[in-house]
């Protein structure tokens, strides 16, 4: 992990590649908060970046744990926080099982097709619907991220072999604009 002052202003702020344990997520989260401390846009956008970061990394962590993805580099992921064109971008990449691609893609498409009110409605429905233990699903988290972002969720699936694909997700949070 590193805080990249070299990239002064534009570019990569934090890049971490490795296993996403809870304590690593926490530690990097603290770095995110510290880095954004001086952010002039106000607490709102800082919280949004932090929230998007937490939702993304916890989603990845939960997926890997629940799916019991193991070994061979498959259970480590990457998160990058960068700034570009007056937005902060939180992106993550991890290996997923091919059979999970369809549902995830459909879910992302559905989310991207909603406007602000639609997202709020979707959020409330999912909030009511999710059962307690098993469905620590990406569902609510993705919608939450979409609500904090002013643009669509950018994603890609790169087929790796018969069983796995590499999934990347990019969420942009505007710097300092009030909703």
């Amino acid at each position: 992990m590193a805080l990249r002052e070299n990239f002064s202003g534009e570019g990569i702020l934090i890049c971490f590649n490795g296993p996403f344990t809870h304590s690593i997520i926490e530690e990097i989260g603290n770095a995110v908060k510290r880095y954004l401390e001086g952010e002039t846009g106000g607490r709102g956008s800082v919280m949004d970046v932090f929230a998007v970061y937490i939702e993304q990394t916890q989603n990845v962590r939960n997926y890997i744990a629940r799916q019991k993805i193991q070994g061979n580099g498959r259970n480590s992921a990457i998160v990058v926080i960068s700034s570009k064109d007056s937005a902060y971008i939180v992106s993550s990449g991890n290996v997923i099982r091919k059979e999970d691609v369809g549902e995830l893609a459909a879910h992302l498409e559905e989310i991207n097709g909603q406007d602000k009110d639609g997202l709020k409605r979707m959020y409330k429905e999912t909030l009511r619907r999710e059962r307690k233990s098993e469905d620590l699903g990406a569902g609510l988290g993705l919608i939450d991220m979409a609500r904090r972002s002013q643009s669509k969720l950018e994603y890609s699936f790169k087929e790796m072999d018969d069983s796995y694909s590499f999934f990347t997700l990019e969420v942009a949070v505007a710097r300092g604009t009030e909703p």
Binding site: N30, G44, M47, A51
Partner: protein, 124 residues
């Protein structure tokens, strides 16, 4: 009065006589596991409590914590229907609009008295 100390990713919980307070940030490794003892206690307490006060002072909660808090609010609503005088107080830092947004969204779906109060930044 029972206390669950805060950690860097979970809030401070205090529960006792007719009241529960949740204070800090909430993004624990597993929210359902974290809030389980709170539910248990709450369910037992609400069976007979004539009044109940929930105080929330949470500057950030992840999506699964939000679900847990909603479930807690539902328990309070049900108790209110059985005659319990249940109320919610939500405190938020004045500059943190997200916390205000979250409070208002909860309030929309809950029909027990729900007051939202801004506080100045700094130790409380």
């Amino acid at each position: 009065m029972k206390i669950i100390e805060a950690t860097s990713s979970s809030p401070r919980i205090e529960y006792g006589e007719a009241g529960l307070s949740i204070k800090g940030e909430s993004y624990p490794e597993n929210s359902f596991v974290f809030y389980a003892p709170v539910f248990e206690w709450l369910a037992a307490e609400l069976k007979s409590a004539p009044r109940f006060r929930l105080i929330l002072d949470v500057s950030y909660m992840n999506s699964s914590s939000t679900k847990c808090v909603l479930d807690i609010l539902d328990l309070l609503s049900e108790a209110a229907m059985r005659g319990c005088d249940a109320r919610v107080t939500w405190l938020y830092e004045a500059e943190n609009e997200r916390s205000l947004d979250l409070a208002e969204e909860f309030k929309e779906d809950i029909d027990i008295p729900f007051e939202i109060i801004p506080v100045e930044a700094g130790p409380r």
